[in-house]
Symmetry: C2
Subunit: 335 residues, 2 copies
């Protein structure tokens, strides 16, 4: 493969390579007849221009990169789906990189991409990332960069997020309305804006109902076993009447612990969680979720990235796009 090239087509048709090139790109300065002849032969031979040569020549790769913490998570896979749809429509290629929540991997990946391999990139930053020079470098070099969901506040680049604080506020209020007075907030240990936004919504709702005193915050990690241990401890010592999980993982771990300790949901404990898991409706009991419009986030992030790549300029309202999440009330938070 990668065998037939412009020169060969040219020889075959007694034309020059540049004429072939122009004909295939539908240049107006080539006669229709020639175009037809060229295209016919190109199709017949299955000619595809060498992408490395074009990229080198044109300094553009027709490729974008997506950098995410993990892919085994419905939120990110739905985002990928949205991105890929837009890219495929634009005839762009999509490189995928997983950081596994590891700052070093994230930095390594970004460094390797600093050389024209991609025309732009989209990232949801790792929850262990604490410094941002690797991202700052892209801003400085003016390489198109778009953040989604887990953004970096200190860098001036478009961000696509959801209304985390409001959604968390609504979810907490919902719990209060259902009679909960002692609501625990379970998140992941990280320094992400997303966690603090969700927590602030939670706190605001507590304050509104005069429940500030009852605040309980716990941060888990990646290991299920130690999360469950911590949750077990939390449930037995503090006896909250509700769990608000800022991440799906903590809700799953909560369900597991409740199963084990035979704690009835929702009678003894109500549970709500940020989650894009469709199967949440089939849980025992069905889990109330805050669903983020993940596909749309991916689609919008990609659309904005392409605008940046093509036009190099954005409208003010494209620099910060916020999508609403919505609360799906199910049995896990019913009275």
């Amino acid at each position: 493969m990668d065998n037939v090239n412009l020169k060969q087509l040219a020889k075959e048709l007694n034309l020059s390579a540049s004429t072939i090139s122009r004909a295939l790109r539908d240049s107006h300065e080539i006669s229709q007849e020639t175009k037809d002849r060229v295209k016919a032969l190109a199709t017949k031979l299955g000619f595809q221009p060498n992408p490395h040569a074009s990229s080198l020549r044109q300094s553009k790769s027709k490729t974008i990169a997506v950098i995410i913490p993990e892919i085994e998570n419905n939120f990110f896979s739905q985002v990928m789906n949205g991105i890929e749809d837009v890219a495929q429509q634009k005839s762009y290629h999509v490189l995928i990189y997983l950081t596994h929540e590891d700052e070093k991997r994230e930095k390594d990946i970004l460094n390797v991409l600093r050389n024209g391999r991609v025309d732009g990139l989209m990232i949801s930053i790792s929850n262990t990332t604490t410094s941002f020079e690797h991202l700052e470098a892209y801003r400085v070099a003016e390489v198109p960069l778009v953040f989604f969901d887990r953004v970096c506040e200190s860098i001036d680049a478009p961000r696509i997020t959801t209304d985390d604080a409001e959604a968390a506020f609504k979810a907490t209020e919902h719990l209060v309305k259902m009679g909960c007075r002692k609501i625990a907030f379970l998140s992941m240990a990280d320094g992400l804006s997303i966690s603090s936004r969700r927590r602030s919504g939670y706190l605001k709702a507590l304050a509104k109902s005069g429940l500030e005193e009852n605040e309980i915050t716990m941060a888990g990690g990646t290991d299920d076993e130690s999360n469950r241990r911590a949750i077990r401890e939390l449930l037995t010592t503090q006896a909250p009447d509700a769990i608000f999980a800022a991440v799906e993982k903590m809700a799953i771990n909560t369900y597991q612990v409740c199963q084990e300790l035979k704690i009835d949901i929702p009678e003894k404990l109500k549970v709500v969680s940020f989650s894009n898991l469709a199967a949440a409706a089939l849980f025992d009991p069905p889990l109330s979720t805050i669903v983020q419009p993940a596909y749309e986030i991916g689609k919008e992030a990609a659309t904005i990235l392409f605008k940046l790549i093509e036009k190099r300029v954005l409208l003010p309202n494209e620099k910060k796009v916020t999508f609403p999440s919505h609360l799906v009330e199910r049995k896990s938070t019913s009275k």
Copy 2:
């Protein structure tokens, strides 16, 4: 970005571009002192060789492609995870393409990749794909190609699969052991080897127990609503005592219909399904699943692809690798 190049480094150090190139690639014909000087400057300036230029020159892209039907499915996202791990370790880049079970998209994607953009590719074919010239072309051109899970039997390329027939046999036997006599097999409408393998395991188990007469086979599609309608019809008219879902989607749809029709699982109907959804254990009732080692499949597929890329030759036992799936018995199939 994409600004600093060999020539600039050369000028800076009063060396030639070729020396820089060699020094950075640790050529033995460059003095240690020069190497050190060159590397120091390269690091300082954050030099990354232009990948298009190297790829053009060396006719290799350090990139592989993964073509899958969808990503919003735990099986495929786990496979991706395995692939990405191996690729990252090899310093390779991973392009991802989604076919959405569409033969035309699949063909378009494969055509575009026929030009050196990637050094090899891995594919799980779409369930609507009926002809295979687009794949045959790769075999002819000797571009490294590896199939996983949904393979094409007629093309001579390595395949990584699971023991679908045996796993289906075991799952069906398990249902029989639990007292089921009328087991319905629910798959997706397709011409995939995977479906027929699973079905043959199901049939073999029926035969073993003298239940051939009770065979019920139904094929669904992508639309949940019409699947549910078909399942409703099936349950009311044929009254099977078990559902064996060859794909997760059909199990989910079955659960939904049972919820709606208030059919008790497992009392009235037992359900088992191929699925890699970890949350299946939290379903109401917990769903018995046949779990495929998806991460390992991805890892193995990538490992074999790299062997093919690097060595161009495989051991006989690498041409057809089969991983065992395992049955996780849960309440949905209990007595």
